[in-house]
């Protein structure tokens, strides 16, 4: 485990890169496979000689594209909602990019996630449809559409007809049936307007809280390395008073456990003393020792990772909904299951 913690530290620049070339290559393949090569490049660019700069250039050009796309989508979103009182809150990657946080530097972004009040949902959907977004093919069937609307924390994903970009419109941070109940109204009330824009982001403490909720209370932690690095950078972006806020705020909105876990991970994986101190006084989720083992095993993709993945998968469903919903849902999904369709790519082939 020591060596693997080292990999995370090397990616964010806390430890020097391996001197041995094969190890260095492996590290970069690891970073690429976990979608953090761009973040590694942003942290380390210019610090080394040789080929590595070419590889970093490639990664940075790619993330520059993502960020450009995101800014454009934000502009289209504002335009779609113009003339209304609705001020959506940007979530996750979109928020980090809009606020130019450390967590945004070199980060890959594909979708745009926004949060609006539940009573605004219908109007937002209508306006986005008018602006060219449509129900995404993947979930454009009666069951999925109804399922999302009845139980989920977001509308079924919408894809723009021309640009192909996806927007997820949330009204909660977790499914309606989730075990954690988050004080979403408080978070929305605390959101701050982005200068010269109709869009908002959460206050700094809430940005961290949402990231922790997303990672540890929703889903099976599908992108663990990226998740850990995100928490690390978001934590670095909090100033002294934000960090004090964080503890109080996490308790207020009912997210103390996932936040406690995220802060613990920052402390443990990146040897961050501030995070270590803070994590001591915070509540942790049930079976903390088992959970932290599973998270780290999954991230490191070693021999035990299939077991870790299975545990996290079961946990994600346990957190998401009660049995009386889960069993029919999984049965339905199993019947509906088809092999993942590979996205067609236009390529020049010999």
């Amino acid at each position: 485990m020591i060596m693997q913690r080292k990999a995370l530290k090397q990616i964010v620049g806390l430890k020097p890169l391996p001197e041995k070339v094969l190890k260095r290559i492996k590290l970069m393949i690891f970073a690429d496979a976990h979608h953090v090569l761009g973040q590694m490049a942003a942290a380390l660019t210019g610090a080394h000689e040789g080929k590595i700069n070419d590889v970093f250039d490639n990664a940075l050009l790619r993330t520059a594209h993502d960020h450009r796309m995101l800014h454009f989508e934000m502009n289209r979103l504002e335009r779609a909602l113009e003339g209304t009182e609705i001020t959506p809150i940007l979530l996750k990657g979109a928020a980090y990019v809009a606020r130019d946080l450390k967590a945004a530097q070199g980060r890959r972004v594909s979708d745009i996630d926004i949060l609006v009040r539940e009573e605004e949902l219908d109007q937002v959907e209508k306006l986005l449809m008018q602006a060219g977004w449509k129900a995404d093919q993947e979930t454009d069937n009666e069951y999925d559409q109804e399922y999302y609307r009845q139980w989920m924390h977001e509308l079924p994903p919408m894809r723009h007809g021309k640009r192909g970009t996806i927007i997820d419109v949330h009204h909660l941070l977790l499914p309606r049936t989730a075990r954690y109940k988050i004080g979403i109204d408080q978070m929305i009330d605390g959101a701050r307007t982005i200068e010269a824009s109709a869009l908002k982001t959460f206050c700094p403490a809430d940005v961290f809280i949402h990231s922790a909720i997303h990672a540890f209370a929703d889903g099976a932690f599908d992108n663990p390395v990226r998740g850990f690095i995100e928490h690390y950078y978001l934590f670095q972006d909090l100033n002294e008073s934000d960090r004090k806020d964080l503890c109080v705020r996490a308790e207020q909105v009912g997210a103390e456990k996932p936040v406690g876990l995220a802060v613990w991970c920052v402390g443990f994986l990146f040897s961050d003393e501030n995070a270590q101190k803070m994590a001591k006084n915070m509540k942790k989720p049930m079976l903390f020792w088992l959970l932290r083992w599973a998270l780290i095993s999954k991230a490191m993709d070693g021999l035990t990772s299939p077991l870790a993945k299975a545990l996290l998968y079961i946990r994600s469903h346990y957190l998401r909904m009660p049995m009386r919903l889960l069993v029919p849902h999984l049965t339905r999904k199993a019947i509906q299951w088809r092999p993942m369709s590979r996205k067609p790519v236009d390529l020049p082939l010999p």
Partner: protein, 313 residues
């Protein structure tokens, strides 16, 4: 210690063990490519078609590309072995019988360059150059681009690439990347005739794209693969048997609009790609060509070059 040598200076055993370790580093043009996955057909292919290329048995630095030629599953490693190119991201590649490893290798490298190497604008095109500058030929598959590229080599041009024009982001200078020229079906005998038998690889028969062979890059192409060139002529060739030879000068705007869809990363690079493509026309002029034979295409190119020179004078 790692040293750079030509493939032809290495023993089969050395290549095999390096491919097994996944430590074979192929240097070509601006790219360093780490290759893993040993198989006899691949070693044969490297020893034949890549014989003059520079490689290292142990990499001395990180690489642009890491291409793993692996079995699609454990069964296919042993029973009727198959191979798929794995460039480290998901690609739509079908498993091929192991004898077609050369094809998987070439496809894997093409995918890696097209989708990963965005420090150049990559345009699907054949490129050759002489001391006056480069000729860039952009065309759909089957329009005679490879044959034309191969024919120009016999006219004293050096090979940049049969697959990608690599356009520098700031300066719009073209980078050589002299991989072997891929030949399909009926073009194989034509190029064999042009180049001579010893320059054509053994034929990979019955691939999903029909019979495939490769025209090897010459040692001089490979040794000069660091020497860049500016474009002098940009061509949109179209071959059809029996077609009367015809050429039409394109204005810059039209040529740019035809190059953009031929680029694999224009959308990704955005403005930078647009500026680079525009700058290609600082020195180059563009033509659309149609022709029914290789000789006709060569005389059309001569005419186009002459017109360009007359114009400059």
């Amino acid at each position: 210690m790692s040293t750079v040598t030509r493939v032809s200076d290495l023993s089969r055993r050395e290549i095999r063990s390096s491919l097994r370790e996944g430590s074979l580093l192929l240097h070509l043009g601006p790219f360093a490519q780490l290759i893993s996955g040993s198989s006899d057909p691949l070693i044969d292919f490297l020893q034949d078609t890549y014989r003059d290329c520079q490689v290292e048995l142990f990499p001395s630095d990180v690489t642009d590309v890491h291409l793993n030629l692996r079995a699609p599953n454990i069964l296919r490693k042993f029973f009727r072995p198959q191979v798929v190119p794995d460039p480290g991201f998901e690609v739509p590649a079908v498993p091929l019988p192991i004898e077609m490893a050369p094809l998987a290798f070439e496809m894997g490298l093409n995918l890696s360059v097209a989708l990963k190497c965005c420090r150049f604008v990559t345009i699907h095109a054949g490129v050759v150059a002489d001391k006056d500058g480069a000729i860039l030929m952009s065309a759909e598959s089957g329009s005679g681009k490879s044959t034309l590229t191969a024919a120009l080599l016999e006219r004293g041009y050096r090979l940049f690439s049969d697959e990608f024009a690599l356009v520098g982001l700031g300066d719009a200078v073209l980078q050589p990347y002299p991989r072997p020229i891929s030949l399909k079906e009926e073009t194989i005998p034509i190029v064999r005739e042009l180049a001579g038998d010893e320059w054509i690889s053994p034929i990979v028969k019955g691939s999903p794209k029909g019979d495939i062979a490769y025209r090897r890059a010459r040692r001089s192409d490979i040794d000069q693969s660091h020497k860049q060139a500016k474009a002098k002529l940009i061509l949109f060739p179209e071959f059809e048997p029996g077609m009367r030879p015809y050429k039409r000068r394109l204005n810059t705007a039209e040529a740019i609009l035809r190059l953009i869809p031929a680029s694999t990363n224009f959308g990704l690079l955005g403005e930078q790609a647009y500026l680079a493509i525009t700058r290609l026309f600082d020195d180059a002029v563009a033509y659309e060509l149609s022709y029914g034979s290789t000789e006709q295409s060569l005389s059309l190119i001569d005419e186009a070059l002459q017109e360009r020179d007359d114009h400059a004078a």
